[in-house]
């Protein structure tokens, strides 16, 4: 059946979306019969995430430090959103995340504040992430944005509209960005962007694309505290369809913890994984891979990522309150590997690295953001508790690197010094499906996908995975965009 969700309430002078209009959820339509009538609100589970039980989020190690951080965040931003709460499982990371986000949204920068939030909305809309959209619609209005813009892309100035193209490419196929795109934007004219402004916008876009991945990947619930919705709110909070979170799980399924099925099975899975990791770490050179071998491995991984996703999705019908921020909604991720006639060269990571090149450029044009991003990337790459599920004192470097590089691989970025055979050995198929979904089309993530990989692992570890995916994605987008800017400059 088609679940009907309450339409947006067109307040604040925007009459575009008629109040009380009924809408059909795009995803639910695909699975009409599996779902029993589900309550729209409150969301599936209480707490910040639909995937993670509330008590998991709330209890974590280093409580002291964590509370401090949360208190501080609350006192600076006046609220504690669900993203922050879920991320706070990894306190160290959260700190650098918040710092960089605060900087790009609120501190001195080339773009005016309302622009920043609108760009965030545009970015989140590419993945139909109503959670982020709602959040920034509020912020946009609070910072003095023009309410009319919220009626859709036709109402915004041409200058912002020009950003659509790069937003679209960056979100779905960043490898297509060329210096011509940059030139078109900065070309002198009435609506041109200065380079610092453009860099700021690109950083925001990449950040919010990646954050959308995190939101869907961790099943972030819509905010439920009523006091934030006191103000003008154009979109009803609860148009967030439950099926976004759990396509085909009913409530019982959601509360079903992963521990009671296939324990033995998943235990051996874990053991095997650890075994493989150990082997990879110990004897690297026993199987001396030839050059061709390495090439084929990368290609294979790339190709395989093509097949990873199961079941074709049609073009989805996007709810109107999101679609008005989207231009060309049909444009989605197309596998890098399936490039067909136009042979795009692989992005050689060593030729344009974040540390050497990306940082310098970004920091030059938008001062200090480089340091914050650098710290964040470094933090997420090195974050480890040396644990895996129930095991302690495990060196998880290879696993983390595999995750990071696999994301880059899907975006066509290749590391010369990485053996992509490792990815195959370390990442099981269900995990690959999850990774692919979360990074490339996060809006399709389901709870089942989340549950089906690494069943022995703790939720905090899965959040860790999400953080890695998110940052890897952001870095990949930034690398492509910054490389194009560099080429434009030279």
């Amino acid at each position: 059946m088609n679940r009907l969700s309450a339409g947006s309430i067109g307040g604040g002078g925007s009459a575009a979306s008629a109040a009380g209009q009924y809408r059909v959820c795009g995803n639910c339509r695909k699975v009409p019969r599996q779902e029993k009538r589900v309550q729209v609100s409150p969301p599936l589970t209480r707490g910040p995430s639909a995937f993670i039980p509330e008590n998991e989020v709330m209890q974590a190690n280093g409580l002291d430090e964590r509370t401090n951080l949360l208190v501080e965040e609350y006192s600076t931003s006046g609220r504690l959103d669900n993203i922050t709460q879920v991320m706070s499982i990894h306190t160290q990371y959260l700190e650098s995340f918040l710092r960089s986000q605060f900087y790009m949204l609120r501190m001195d920068g080339p773009l005016p504040l309302p622009y920043r939030h609108y760009i965030a909305i545009m970015a989140a809309a590419r993945h139909q992430c109503s959670y982020l959209i709602n959040m920034h619609v509020d912020e946009f209005l609070k910072t003095g944005g023009i309410a009319e813009w919220l009626n859709g892309l036709e109402y915004i100035p041409q200058r912002l509209k020009n950003l659509n193209e790069i937003n679209k490419l960056l979100a779905h196929r960043p490898w297509l960005i060329t210096k011509e795109h940059i030139q078109k934007l900065v070309k002198t004219g009435e609506n041109n962007w200065s380079l610092p402004e453009l860099v700021h916008a690109v950083v925001l876009l990449a950040h919010y694309h990646a954050l959308a991945s995190f939101v869907f990947g961790s099943g972030i619930n819509p905010e439920r505290d009523p006091d934030t919705s006191n103000g003008v709110r154009l979109i009803a909070v609860n148009n967030f369809c439950v099926c976004d979170l759990a396509n085909d799980n009913n409530i019982e399924n959601a509360s079903l913890t992963s521990s009671n099925f296939g324990i033995a099975d998943s235990l051996s899975e874990l053991e095997a994984l650890m075994e493989r990791m150990k082997r990879l770490q110990e004897d690297k050179e026993d199987e001396e891979a030839s050059q061709e071998e390495m090439d084929t491995r990368f290609e294979k991984e790339k190709k395989e990522s093509l097949l990873v996703i199961s079941g074709a999705f049609d073009d989805e019908i996007v709810s109107t309150d999101v679609s008005r921020y989207v231009e060309d909604p049909g444009f989605g991720y197309k596998d890098f590997a399936r490039r067909g006639e136009d042979h795009l060269p692989t992005f050689r990571a060593q030729d344009y690295t974040w540390e050497n090149h990306g940082f310098s450029l970004v920091n030059r044009l938008y001062s200090d953001i480089g340091h914050l991003l650098d710290e964040k990337f470094r933090m997420v790459y090195n974050l480890t508790y040396n644990t895996m599920a129930t095991h302690e004192d495990v060196d998880t470097t290879t696993l983390r690197r595999a995750l990071f590089n696999y994301v880059h691989c899907m975006y066509g970025i290749r590391y010369d010094d990485y053996d992509y055979g490792e990815v195959n050995q370390l990442l099981e198929r269900s995990l690959k499906v999850y990774i692919k979904t979360v990074t490339c089309y996060p809006e399709r993530t389901t709870k089942r996908m989340y549950d089906s990989y690494w069943r022995q692992f703790k939720h905090s570890e899965k959040v860790h995975v999400n953080l890695l995916l998110m940052e890897a994605r952001m870095q990949a987008e930034l690398l492509y965009a910054l490389r194009a800017i560099t080429r434009h400059l030279t």
Binding site: L113, G144, Q291, N356, F359, D416, D417, T490
Partner: protein, 789 residues
């Protein structure tokens, strides 16, 4: 590009000759290295690995080392080095983590010699030992450095940096066992090759990755490092702690550094991003490169001096797929284009002027600027003649021109600034007050202006007839005033005003005769004379004021524009967010002073009644033949412009603030901003912080207003452990103690905290205030007589 300059140098037998030349490579280069005899150069990159011989006129390709059916990642070089002892021996670092050695002596086409696949990640750097034939060192992204003996199949020893990626490794040139390694996290480590377990020394050299380092070829204690933080630093390693002795700030992250042979203080650098030029710096003169090579069109990736003992030939490879030989003679020297003069005004009108000595010595005899009352002083800085500067051969002279005490005195400015009332009272009172202040300082013209303003804008029935005379009086003073400027012997500031005083006396007597009904005509008169006033003064006005003005314009102009570009857009929302705070601050500031209303309130307080007055006065004016105050706006505007032109922005800004909306629209925003910034700058230079802050707060200019909102963070240290407190103001993360306790109630202060600067005890604002009512001693009992302002 085809410069024909030919250089030859004798190097103990063989001579290097050549010219600036280049050749196209097939692919971008990542690194280059030269053969010991300076006759060949090897270029390595992802898709290129070739040896060129350096001929007289051109580069000639000698050998392509990239052979084999399929391109291998082992050929994809991040770095290459040519052995300085054995000219057949080369080593490359591959991006896939392999270290390869090459033997040119091999008879086969494939010169590949050995393959070391020990590193897990990209190898960033390889380095041969300067005197040992078989010793090779590598540094990799995986954080390890490995030392290879080329006679063996595996590494001899592995050094773990215990940190992130190794970016560069360099054997010390003189110290047989020592090598330096630089790291991505900003550290530099010194190792003894015999002790792989632990580094000898470590220090943090840069903020962010250290991309490169180079040992000084002569002075063995010197190590140069270059980092992503755009700095080149020279370290003296002879002392127990590495000491930074020179620091050069470049414009982009530094990719390579290479000491220039035979020149103790010269170093060549190229950058990683954005900037394509190669610079040669004299480290003692870090602000301007002594030479610059601008040939490349993309980032320069490798630089190397052609010969160990020849400072005139530099080779470079670049991402733009070219290989260049640069000749020093053809280098551009930015110093030739630099402006060697400096000029600056002091607060009191003294002028300092620095220039090349040669320029000064001829000029100083003529003394073109120097009037009778100004005394030039000369300072000369002669450089140490023993130092052999190639490009720093000039010495400069600094001259200071002093103005004499009387005319230079700025006391009136300070007094006026302190005593003026700008807001918080009705307009009439403000004007009266300010007029009194001006009069008290013998500035009658200004006093007159204030009185006039009061009449124009807030005329009550009582003052109409009598004060009109004043306004006319001002108008007619202008004629005698002009005369007064002709008397040059009178010090300008004082002279004109005393003169004014006299003339005013005269004019007043005239004016008494006039009828109040003729106001209209007189006002027109007024306008005219005012108008003519400005050019007259501009011609005759004293030099000092004009120069002052000029200076301020120059200084403030770019600043103001910049602000206009970036700030206003943000200023709006920011202001809305913290709209509560200013009033809170007001309480803090004004606790001892007279009650004070914050800007906006003051505006409304003074505005509404006055507005109604003027309405009344209009109705009166029908009856009294008076005009609406708007009529005078052009005159007032001209008055303000006149003052500003004269260099007295103080009056202009004060009037602007006091009149507020009445006059604001008459003057364009940019001019207003100009005045504000100039005045604020002056106030700050006189350290009148409170007043400058008040002006900022009262200003109606957006760009000025938000000056107060920049850098509002206050950094504090914990009172226990003296470390900076990062998170909250009241609890220290390190010592886990509440740092800011109220000395009165012994609770933690989380809001407004006030403390005595003498004994650093303090507490809740209210508590301390209450305490001080009864006692002047510190509430903490330390015996200090607390001082609060």
């Amino acid at each position: 590009m085809e410069k024909m300059a030919r250089v030859s140098t004798a190097l103990g037998g063989n001579t290097l000759t050549g010219r600036t030349m280049f050749c196209h490579l097939d692919a971008p280069a990542n690194a280059i290295s030269v053969c010991r005899d300076a006759a060949q150069v090897v270029v390595a990159g992802r898709n290129i690995f070739k040896i060129y011989s350096i001929e007289e006129e051109q580069f000639v390709e000698k050998l392509n080392l990239r052979v084999g059916r399929k391109p291998s990642l082992n050929f994809s070089c991040a770095d290459v080095v040519w052995h300085q002892m054995d000219e057949n021996l080369l080593a490359t670092a591959a991006t896939n983590g392999v270290v390869v050695t090459w033997n040119l002596g091999k008879p086969s086409r494939n010169k590949q010699d050995q393959l070391f696949t020990e590193h897990k990640r990209t190898v960033n750097k390889v380095c041969f030992h300067p005197t040992e034939v078989y010793m090779l060192l590598s540094g990799s992204q995986d954080g390890y450095m490995k030392c290879f003996d080329l006679r063996k199949k595996d590494s001899v020893s592995t050094f773990s940096g215990q940190s992130e990626s190794v970016r560069d490794v360099q054997f010390s040139i003189r110290d047989y066992f020592t090598f330096a390694a630089t790291f991505e996290n900003g550290n530099v480590q010194l190792w003894d090759i015999r002790r792989p377990d632990r580094y000898e020394r470590m220090f943090t050299a840069h903020n962010g990755p250290v991309f490169c380092c180079d040992w000084h070829p002569e002075d063995r204690g010197w190590l140069a490092t270059g980092g992503r933080d755009k700095m080149v630093k020279v370290w003296d390693m002879n002392t127990t702690r590495a000491k930074e002795i020179y620091c050069v700030q470049t414009i982009a992250s530094v990719a390579r550094v290479k000491w220039r042979p035979e020149c103790k203080h010269h170093i060549a650098t190229c950058s990683m991003m954005v900037d394509h030029n190669i610079y040669v710096w004299d480290v003692r003169r870090p602000f301007i490169p002594s030479a610059m090579f601008e040939e490349h069109k993309d980032v320069t990736t490798g630089i190397v001096w052609r010969h160990l003992h020849d400072p005139y030939f530099l080779l470079s490879g670049s991402k733009d797929s070219t290989l260049y030989q640069h000749i020093f003679k053809d280098a551009s020297q930015p110093i030739d284009r630099a402006n060697p003069e400096g000029l600056c005004y002091s607060l009191y009108g003294d002028l300092a002027f620095a220039a090349k000595e040669s320029l000064i010595s001829s000029d100083s005899n003529r003394k073109p600027y120097i009037g009778d009352r100004r005394h030039p002083i000369f300072f000369k800085r002669k450089l140490d003649p023993t130092e052999q500067f190639e490009y720093i051969s000039s010495s400069s002279a600094l001259s200071v021109f002093e103005t004499d005490v009387e005319s230079g005195s700025m006391d009136w400015f300070v007094h006026t600034a302190k005593q003026y009332a700008l807001a918080g009272r009705p307009l009439a009172e403000l004007c009266d007050h300010n007029a009194k202040v001006a009069k008290g300082l013998d500035r009658n013209q200004v006093a007159q202006t204030w009185t006039m303003l009061r009449i124009i804008y807030s005329s009550l029935g009582t003052m109409s007839s009598t004060n009109l005379n004043h306004s006319m009086g001002k108008g007619s003073t202008t004629l005698p005033l002009m005369n007064s400027f002709n008397l040059k012997d009178i010090p300008s500031g004082l002279g004109s005003e005393s003169r004014l005083d006299r003339s005013k006396g005269e004019s007043r007597t005239e004016n008494i005769l006039m009828d109040s009904s003729s106001t209209l005509i007189n006002n027109e008169d007024n306008e005219e004379t005012e108008g003519s006033d400005v050019p007259a003064d501009y011609l005759l006005g004293d030099v000092e004021a004009d120069e002052d003005d000029l200076y301020m314009m120059d200084h403030e102009n770019p600043h103001a524009e910049e602000q206009e570009y970036s700030l206003p857009q943000e200023a709006f929302p920011l202001r809305h967010e913290i709209v509560d705070n200013p009033s809170a601050l007001d309480h803090l500031q004004d606790k001892a002073d007279s009650p004070h209303v914050s800007g906006n309130e003051a505006e409304t307080v003074s505005l509404t009644p006055v507005e109604s007055f003027s309405l009344i006065s209009i109705s009166h004016s029908l009856y009294e033949n008076r005009l609406p105050s708007d009529f005078f706006n052009p005159i007032v505007r001209d008055t303000l412009l006149f003052y500003a032109e004269q260099g007295d922005v103080q009056t202009a800004v004060s009037v602007l603030i006091v009149l507020g909306d009445r006059i604001r629209k008459e003057i364009d925003e940019q001019t207003q901003e100009h005045w504000y910034t100039s005045y604020i700058d002056l106030l700050q230079r006189f350290q009148l912080w409170n007043i400058s802050n008040e002006v900022i707060k009262l200003s109606t200019c957006r760009a000025i207003n938000c000056l107060n909102q920049a850098s509002t963070t206050l950094h504090i240290n914990c009172s226990n452990c003296k470390r900076p407190m990062s998170n909250r103001g009241w609890i220290c993360d390190r010592c886990r103690q509440c740092a800011s306790m109220c000395a009165v109630c012994h609770h933690v202060v989380k809001g407004l905290f006030v403390w005595c600067q003498g004994c650093s005890h303090g507490g809740h604002l209210q508590h301390i205030m209450k305490w001080l009512e009864t006692s002047s001693h510190c509430p903490a009992g330390c015996g200090h007589l607390c001082e609060y302002t």
